[in-house]
């Protein structure tokens, strides 16, 4: 293939800078004292500390899951620091004056200005820096319509009944190894409550940044959409370029009560490691939502970063006529590995789910789709449609598809299709012959391949996602 692709694909990770800010960082290691420290630092009530300690006990009993198509390195969980926060900051800053200017500058550099006069129009942002939330914009405006959007560490104090009722209700502590770990040590994350009948007036978003070296990030997000409410939420993630591997193990729980609608979009751009596969984030994430009657949960993800991605945003379609959607673009390059997909558990009558997954593998990377569609006995009239396509760029990468389909009810319909294709020399030549250079041609073809997913993203982010794709296909074809 033409040489120019190399140049084009040689673009660098753009969020790889570090912020020099003094931090309070726990020394590496995990034991009950660490958990007590995190809990005390956040002034947590006893029930939450107990909950964390229970999770820790469960975690110690659990084994690292090895079933994914991943070559997992030995991760020494005692070499990770489980808490880090910028020093010049109270744990819950009341205004931006209390936030280290260096931290604010970091977000500005990433295109997420937090200062009031520069707020992104129509988007409220919760910015999480290492283990703490540094700012949440538009809080007051949202509060006027009853929408609660704040760091979960604050919600624990301000809305304890809501947190207590729903925390762990979708992803229990014992769910899996990483969910147990997160439950024990989670530091911050966003809490959202949309009251009955309210359509959230703006996009909500969280922006996660790992800055400190040797630090893991363990955020916890809880979104509750009360009856007939609507919300669209977006998260973005970046980290500096470092030679070491850093751990990210998040849990996201969504609760869509009757007739509610939650749209959750992720643009995951954690540092993927360098061309030789050194460094990068290990991304082990448990995301799950429960949809009650006539409710809808829609996951859209664009996964371009991380050295390892292990992630299956799922829907429990509990209610009648509930709807689950999963739209995914996962790009791997160089030595990245991804094993990602979804689970659609159909419990409600006439529940419906749609899965569109686009995997793009380049370099020496491995990219797997793994999905489960389960039609339980009660799910009469349920439907699923899945389309999983893989695009290979180069002949040293792998693209894999592992769909698990189970049906226990005769009136349910499941359809799954998967194809694989490559960017062909013919296609590139046609584009070139019409005067389009190779850079543009690859970008068009790959974007075309992902179109069905990109159009599910909020408008502002669709173009961003396209650009991210170009950057992440670095050096993939020789």
């Amino acid at each position: 293939m033409p040489e120019q692709i190399d140049h084009y694909l040689g673009l660098e990770y753009q969020a790889g800078f570090t912020t020099s800010v003094e931090s309070d960082t726990l020394p590496p290691g995990l034991n009950e004292d660490v958990i007590r420290y995190i809990s005390a630092r956040k002034n947590e009530p006893q029930w939450l500390l107990d909950w964390r300690l229970e999770a820790f006990a469960i975690w110690q009993e659990k084994m690292l899951p090895l079933w994914a198509h991943l070559n997992l390195p030995d991760i020494d969980f005692q070499q990770v620091s489980y808490f880090s926060a910028p020093k010049n900051m109270k744990s819950n800053p009341k205004s931006l004056d209390e936030v280290d200017p260096e931290v604010l500058a970091t977000y500005e550099k990433l295109g997420i200005p937090l200062l009031e006069q520069q707020h992104l129009e129509g988007i409220a942002v919760d910015a999480v820096f290492d283990s703490v939330s540094v700012a949440t914009t538009f809080r007051d405006q949202l509060k006027e319509v009853g929408v609660i959007f704040m760091p979960i560490s604050e919600a624990v104090h301000e809305y304890p009944e809501l947190v207590k009722k729903y925390l762990g209700s979708v992803v229990p502590k014992q769910d899996n190894f990483f969910a147990a770990l997160n439950s024990a040590v989670f530091s911050d994350g966003s809490f959202v409550y949309i009251p009955k009948g309210v359509k959230c007036p703006m996009e909500l978003s969280s922006y996660f940044r790992i800055n400190e070296s040797k630090t893991g990030q363990f955020e916890r997000t809880l979104i509750i959409a009360d009856e007939a409410s609507q919300v669209s939420y977006l998260e973005g993630c970046t980290a500096p370029m470092r030679d070491e591997n850093q751990l990210h193990a998040a849990v996201v729980e969504l609760i869509a009560l009757d007739n509610a609608d939650i749209k959750y979009s992720t643009v995951q751009n954690w540092y993927p490691g360098n061309k030789e596969g050194k460094g990068g984030i290990y991304n082990f994430v448990t995301k799950r939502g429960i949809a009650h009657n006539n409710a809808r949960i829609s996951w859209t993800q664009v996964e371009t970063g991380s050295a390892i991605t292990w992630k299956y945003p799922s829907c429990i379609l509990k209610g009648e006529n509930s709807v689950g959607e999963f739209y995914s673009v996962a790009v791997t390059n160089n030595y990245q590995q991804a094993d990602t997909g979804t689970k659609m558990i159909h419990l409600g009558r006439n529940s419906k789910s749609t899965i569109i997954s686009k995997g793009i593998s380049a370099g020496k990377s491995q990219n797997a789709y793994r999905g489960l569609v389960r039609m339980t006995k009660k799910a009469a009239g349920a439907r699923n449609f899945s389309q999983c396509d893989s695009l290979l760029i180069g002949d040293r990468c792998g693209a894999h598809t592992f769909p698990y389909i189970e049906s226990h009810t005769p009136s349910a319909i499941v359809e799954h299709e998967a194809t694989t294709s490559k960017v062909s020399d013919d296609q590139l030549f046609l584009c070139q012959q019409r005067g389009i250079d190779t850079e543009k041609a690859i970008s068009m073809i790959v974007n075309g391949f992902c179109k069905d997913v990109f159009k599910k993203l909020p408008m502002e982010f669709a173009a961003e996602a396209g650009k991210l794709l170009e950057v992440s296909l670095e050096g993939s074809v020789g």
Binding site: L392, D395, R396, T401, T420, K422
Partner: protein, 437 residues
Amino acid sequence: MGTTTTLTAPVAKTYDWLSALREQGLEKLATLSWPGPKTEHWLHTPISKALAELPELSAELNSETVAALGQIGGLDAIRLVFVDGRFQSDLSTGRSGYAGQLSILSQLETSAQEQLEHRLNTTFERALNKDQHIGAWQNLSLLSDGLVIRVAADSQIDKPIHVVLVATPNSRSEQQATRIICDLERGAKACLIEHQVVLPGGQGSFSNQLTEIELEEGAVLDHYRLGLEGQSAVSLSAAHCALGAHARYQGFTLALGGRCQRHDLVVHHLHGGSHCELKGLYLPCDTEHVDVHSCIEHRLPNCTSNEVFRGIMAGKSTAVFNGRIHIHQDAQKTLAELSNRNLLLSPDAEVYTKPELEIYADDVRCAHGATVAQIDELALYYMQSRGISRIDAELMLSFGFINELVEKIELEPLAQFLKPVLQSLFTRAAAAQENPS
């Protein structure tokens, strides 16, 4: 009824090398554990439990009964009968004239023994080093008799080889296994029918059957496996094929279900230009369980594979289908397709299907599709509007769903034999639907 002669297998000659192989099988078996509920390749198929629960029974066999088993009308074939893994000379017909091509493992000449020993030693390890193929290791550990088919270059066996495999309740204590070796040299052709049958009365039985196939350049094998071992049978069966350049393997698998029926199909494309065609049906009803695992390994360029499996689950039955296509890095220009479609006829039936693609080469065209659905309402309505009862319409449509594959069976007498077998199955399933007990 004639006189009752109890059938006892002629005592198989024991060869030292065979004992050594059995020993090897036993040793390997000891290192593997029978799969539990979390073993990936055995999810949903509780084989250990099924084996443990096999009833201790015994049966007196009568040679006339066995002679009547597995007859396919109009089929001009070489008929070879095995009872509980032992060859039955008296009940087998049409073997004369094929002595050079067909031999019985327990009756081998010394030179042939050496050849076979070599064959078993060199090929067996391929891809079998996993829990998935524990049945194949068990087969080795029990190996005492079987069939060796060897067709020389550019020649063929002009009649289908009809192997009738009878598993009796006695098999429970004997735990006998059958092995079929089928080697076709360059340009050779053959047609093999493995026909697992059930004794009248259908008491529980156990069988382990393994067929190993090597096709050299340009060789063509038509291979039918009819898994009719009956409702109470626990059976493990497998076919392992290695394909040479431009070789062609055409397989048809029918798994009617049993107490626990597992069939493993493994195809290795070892040289360029080979083609495999895998078609199959699984049709469990009542409380039957059937599990078909297929794995196609594309190792070199320009090979093609086409796999079509359909299943209908009635009653409280369970079906498991796993269709894996593995494209290795050097297998450029591969074309591989898999289609798996399932119909659930009853609210108590269930199906688990997992088509898998694992791809390490970019210039390939691979696709798989899997569906689980019910019978098309519109088609039902259309038939009902022409005066056909709903039950009959369902029956016709379900039968049509699998008949598409039966129609494509080139061996006409076999297709004719299968149709009424399948038809009666559907009538039974439909009756159960109508009068749930």
